[in-house]
């Protein structure tokens, strides 16, 4: 005989709670698309695409379905908490489905329905938007998804990653969580979002954080230390590559990329230098992806006879 459960989750209320919206997306993707629900990568990064669950797992023949929230850091987008929709720290919800299932669009639309967007009440559109990340040696075709004219999701079929053809192709969905929540909750200011159903607002959680971090990003961060960090991350990436641990190398590339973004926010990188720094970051990221793919290839080839990296 089963004991009565000690805890029954409450009904989710995605239209009135930011965290319920996230939990609903977790519920949805956990059931549909057999995703593993991951936690955020524990590093500072500019976009969910940098999570190894996306970049590195997009490589190789093995099926992979994952969903996770990734905090994104965009130092130059900070506005000291004074702009209603610009933040230096915000959340993306990322789903990666490899190979892309035939009903991926329907699944995605159902997930919107699950968080309260009725496609006969709101005008949902798939508008051409191809994605390219020279940093990751990656590109894909897809759309930005519009809800009543607002871009709420980036939808991409990865064609290449780390300079290699994706075999098979993964479908990637990136939801802008704050934007979606503002839309669903009907608020004009991100800080007015209800974080939960018990009266805690997004502002209570993050406003002070935005103020202090904007100040640090733009005014305080020690630039010598940042330059030093960049150089160290670059060196460590090379070190890890030489030692045959490309995942560790990739982490250092992510680190270097973020430090570069901080240097940009501090305004200490000239236009001419900018291209050179970007080239260095690109070189680290691509080398790491390449090394990872090369290292894994024997295993992949053994499991998938006939499959080849190039």
């Amino acid at each position: 005989m089963n004991a009565a459960p000690l805890f029954t989750p409450a009904q989710r209320d995605p239209a009135r709670s930011f965290q319920d919206m996230i939990l609903t997306l977790h519920d949805f993707w956990s059931q549909h698309g057999s995703c593993v629900i991951l936690q955020p990568y524990d590093m500072r990064m500019g976009a969910g695409t940098f999570h190894t669950a996306t970049t590195l797992r997009a490589l190789g023949p093995e099926p992979w379905n994952a969903a996770f929230v990734q905090p994104c850091r965009r130092p130059t987008d900070g506005r000291y908490g004074e702009n209603p929709n610009r933040l230096q720290h915000y959340y993306q919800y990322q789903v990666i489905l490899k190979p892309s299932p035939p009903d991926i669009q329907e699944l995605y639309l159902k997930s919107l329905g699950a968080i309260g967007i009725d496609p006969l009440a709101h005008d949902i559109r798939f508008v051409e938007d191809d994605w390219e990340s020279p940093t990751l040696g990656a590109w894909g075709l897809g759309w930005e998804v519009w809800c009543d004219g607002m871009e709420v999701t980036q939808f991409t079929y990865f064609q290449q990653m780390g300079g290699f053809d994706c075999k098979p192709v993964a479908g990637e969905l990136t939801y802008g969580l704050e934007r979606l929540a503002m839309y669903i909750q009907g608020v004009d200011n991100v800080y007015d979002l209800a974080f939960n159903s018990s009266g805690v607002s997004y502002g209570e959680v993050f406003l002070e954080n935005e103020r202090q971090m904007s100040k640090w990003n733009f005014e305080v961060a020690d630039t010598d230390a940042l330059f030093d960090l960049f150089a160290k991350a670059e060196a460590e990436c090379r070190n890890a590559l030489a030692a045959g641990v490309p995942i560790a190398a990739y982490e250092q590339a992510v680190e270097a990329s973020h430090v570069f973004n901080l240097l940009q926010a501090r305004g200490v990188i000239s236009v001419q230098e900018r291209a050179s720094y970007m080239g260095r970051v690109r070189d680290l990221a691509r080398s790491s992806c390449e090394a990872y793919a090369t290292k894994m290839t024997p295993e992949w080839e053994a499991k998938y006879p006939g499959w080849s990296l190039v």
């Binding site: 190979p99 892309s100 496609p119 709101h122 009543d148 079929y157 098979p168 236009v271």
Partner: protein
């Protein structure tokens, strides 16, 4: 006869690709039919975001039977020949047909079912489809061999006379099922046959005709605007784009906060158009109204909800625009311009600030020389110095297409003179053949200077357009210069102007030199004297040996650049021909005038070309041209090198070309004069027709010269017309190739004189007909 329907259903096709995809489908399908010997009475194609379709009417149900006949050996030919032939055609001897003593192999090819032809053609068309960008997807993409399509392909309908034409591509089998509108219809839609396709889908909320969706958007948007008492700002590009984004378009009007109207209307329109694909509206007075029209893809439960969502998005965009507008004005254009020092114009050509300084110098010069009349040199310089400043503003960073316009607005807000703000706004004009040509003097000076600088600088570093490649839009720049000059009747010595920019800077750096080597320096730079901004600066003096070395480096570079000047003038000639061809001017006439060399004033050149075109279309013109060609042919046939033959033999037309020392010029001139004098004394009495031509030329020669000096080209043509009768009579009555060598020489010289007189107007040998 039967009708055929093909539908290729996939995930959302980019709007911009749909019109071309329709054309490609029609072409590929038409080719496949033609290859099989089939033809449809009509082919119609359709595109929506989710499908590409085609209906072919009245297709035969089978291809025609054909009888293929191959000619073989003669009856009685050696057996090896016959055996070889039988092997080739795969028949036995009894199956051959004998006709007129020759064997023929006749193979009857029965007709094929059209369905069979189509079943083969459809997969081939899909695989060969030329999408501008295509992709792989799904489980099949584990190899790179998998099918590529613009977005994942999900279904194929192929119905001939209502029956499925069975075929398969990459695991997708043809059938009769499709999908209706993504949200207004659920479950598959079964299509009975081609004839009911459009209406069946309409019932499922899909308007298959691209043009019908365009009409709904165009008319619907105008209607909702009118209902609000406004006028829609028509925009066919937006109509097309929205038609490519919807299967069931519903235009809706919304309002935005009136206070945004402080931002320039162009900014609002662009924000709405580029970011959101919205139309904008004007009020009764023609001013931009605080309204937008978006196109939904659904009949929304409550359209107000959709409109409100779109309003919020637009408001956020307009807030950004207003932020940029206000932010940019906190800094003066002059301050903004300083940031141009950090922007590379081209790696070999320095920064944008460097370019701005060159343009400012040139614009000032164009004004102070009076090349652009009534233009204040100080204003020209000021406008040029600020003309690129808006490139570093936030607004232009966001909307590059507002360059110029924003600078104009900011200059006006700053209270700069209107000539300056107008010049900043319009200095990119004219952009292309149909664009307005500026007339305001300061604008003209800056626009001309900007384009002349771009052209000469890229030519200087050898970045010239080749074939279809013109990455720096130099052809457009040259065309704009031509338009500016001819549209304003400006007298610009193009060769000198280009030379000033290219060559003068080489010598500008060196000014103070010693006396002793002055003469050497002068002779070295004499050839480039025309290109000095200030001819006095050409009075170079050399101080020491170090400078001599420097000069030695500079002179070859100057010589190279002088060649670049000529190259650039040829480029102008080509552009002029292209531009004038559209205005109906014959390119051979432009060639004929250019061939004279030395003409670099495009306005004067065009006046001459126009007069020439009028003249050659008259009877006098045609006959004179005939007389000219006859004379030229005789001179050529007789290999007449003229009395200057010795010098001409060097291959150089300019007798001074091989001489570095300009002091020799008078010596050579004197020598030439002697020769001419000797030639003009005749040893015999000319025949009457010959004398008539001599007299006519004696009058016409100076008359043509002075008419041309006065730039009265019509008069020059009339003078030429007076030569027509004497030259005709001369050819009728006088034998050029006389047995008497003196007579022959004199008459050839006379023909040469006639040719030369004509050449003062144009090189008639270049004229066709």
């Amino acid at each position: 006869m039967a009708d055929f329907l093909l539908e290729l259903r996939c995930e959302e096709i980019p709007a911009r690709m749909q019109p071309k995809a329709k054309e490609d489908l029609a072409r590929l399908f038409g080719d496949a039919l033609a290859k099989a010997g089939l033809q449809a009475a009509s082919l119609e194609t359709f595109a929506t975001p989710r499908r590409l379709a085609l209906i072919a009417k009245d297709l035969p149900l089978a291809t025609l039977a054909v009888s293929e006949e191959t000619k073989g050996p003669k009856v009685g030919a050696p057996p090896q020949a016959l055996e070889g032939f039988l092997r080739k055609v795969g028949l036995s001897a009894e199956q051959l047909v004998e006709r007129d003593g020759v064997y023929f192999a006749v193979v009857e090819k029965p007709g094929r079912d059209t369905a069979e032809v189509l079943a083969e053609a459809i997969p081939a068309i899909i695989r060969a489809f030329p999408w501008p960008k295509s992709m792989r997807w799904g489980a099949g993409s584990i190899t790179t061999e998998s099918l590529r399509w613009v977005r994942p392909l999900s279904g194929i309908i192929a119905l001939l006379d209502g029956a499925v034409v069975p075929c398969e591509v990459d695991g997708i089998a043809s059938g009769r099922s499709t999908m209706g509108h993504r949200f207004h219809h659920s479950g598959p839609v079964e299509i009975a046959d081609a004839g009911t396709y459009i209406e069946t889908l309409r019932a499922a909320h899909v308007i298959v005709h691209f043009s019908e969706r365009c009409r709904i958007i165009r008319d619907g948007a105008a209607k909702v605007a009118a209902e609000a008492g406004l006028t829609l700002v028509a925009d066919e590009g937006l109509v097309f784009e929205n038609a490519g984004l919807t299967e069931w378009p519903v235009p809706l009007l919304g309002r935005f906060d009136e206070t945004f109207l402080d931002v320039p209307p162009e900014v609002i329109q662009l924000t709405a158009r580029v970011n959101q694909k919205y139309f904008v509206c004007e009020d009764a007075s023609g001013k931009l109204a605080n309204a937008f029209v978006c196109t939904a893809n659904i009949d929304a439960i409550d359209p107000a909800v959709v409109v409100d969502g779109n309003r919020k998005v637009l408001a956020a965009r307009l807030s950004d625009a207003r932020f940029f507008w206000e932010q940019d004005q906190k800094t003066s254009l002059g301050e903004h311009a300083k940031k141009l020092e950090r922007i590379t114009f081209h790696e070999k050509l320095g920064t944008v600030a460097d370019k701005v300084e060159r343009v400012a110098k040139l614009a000032e010069w164009l004004a102070s020389e009076g090349i652009v009349p009534n233009c204040d040199p100080a204003l020209a310089r000021q406008a040029a110095e600020l003309c690129k400043a808006d490139l570093v503003t936030e607004m232009v960073g966001e909307f590059p297409e507002l360059q110029g316009l924003m600078g104009g607005y900011y200059a006006a807000k700053e209270g700069l003179p209107q000539e300056v703000s107008d010049a900043i706004r319009d200095h990119y004009k004219p952009v292309g053949q149909g664009d307005d040509v500026p007339h305001a003097p300061v604008t003209v000076a800056v626009s001309l200077a900007d384009k002349l600088d771009t052209l000469t600088q890229f030519y200087k570093i050898g970045q010239v357009p080749t074939g279809s490649k013109d990455p720096f839009a130099l052809r457009r720049a040259a065309l704009a210069i031509i338009q500016l000059l001819s549209g304003n009747g400006l007298r610009l010595p193009l060769r000198q102007t280009i030379g000033v920019e290219l060559i003068a800077p080489l010598f500008a750096k060196v000014r103070v030199f010693g006396e002793n080597e002055r003469v050497v320096a002068q002779s070295m730079i004499a050839k480039f004297r025309d290109f000095m901004v200030d001819p006095a600066s050409a009075e170079l003096q050399i101080r020491d040996a170090e400078f001599t070395e420097l000069l030695k480096e500079m002179v070859p570079e100057a010589r190279r650049r002088k060649a670049v000047v000529e190259e650039l003038l040829d480029f102008f000639a080509d552009r002029l021909k292209v531009q004038q061809r559209e205005a109906g001017v014959r390119h051979d006439l432009i060639d004929a005038v250019f061939a004279l060399g030395g003409e670099d004033d495009l306005v004067r050149l065009l006046a001459r070309v126009h007069a020439l075109q009028a003249f050659v279309s008259t009877e006098d013109g045609t006959n004179l041209l005939a007389g000219y060609k006859r004379a030229a042919n005789i001179l050529k046939k007789e290999d007449w090198r003229g009395i200057e033959g010795e010098i001409a033999l060097t291959g150089e037309e300019d007798p001074l070309a091989m001489v570095d020392d300009p002091e020799l010029a008078p010596v050579i001139a004197a020598k030439m004069a002697d020769r001419h004098a000797a030639a003009s004394t005749r040893s015999y009495t000319p025949e009457p027709a010959e004398q008539a031509l001599i007299s006519a030329l004696e009058t016409a020669g100076p008359a043509v010269r002075s008419a041309i000096e006065d730039e009265d080209f019509d008069h020059a043509m009339r003078v030429l017309a007076s030569l027509r009768e004497p030259i005709d009579t001369f050819f009728e009555n006088v034998t050029v190739n006389d047995a008497d060598a003196n007579k022959r020489a004199a008459r050839l010289a006379l023909l040469a004189a006639f040719r030369d007189a004509v050449h003062r107007v144009a090189d008639f040998s270049r004229i066709e007909g």
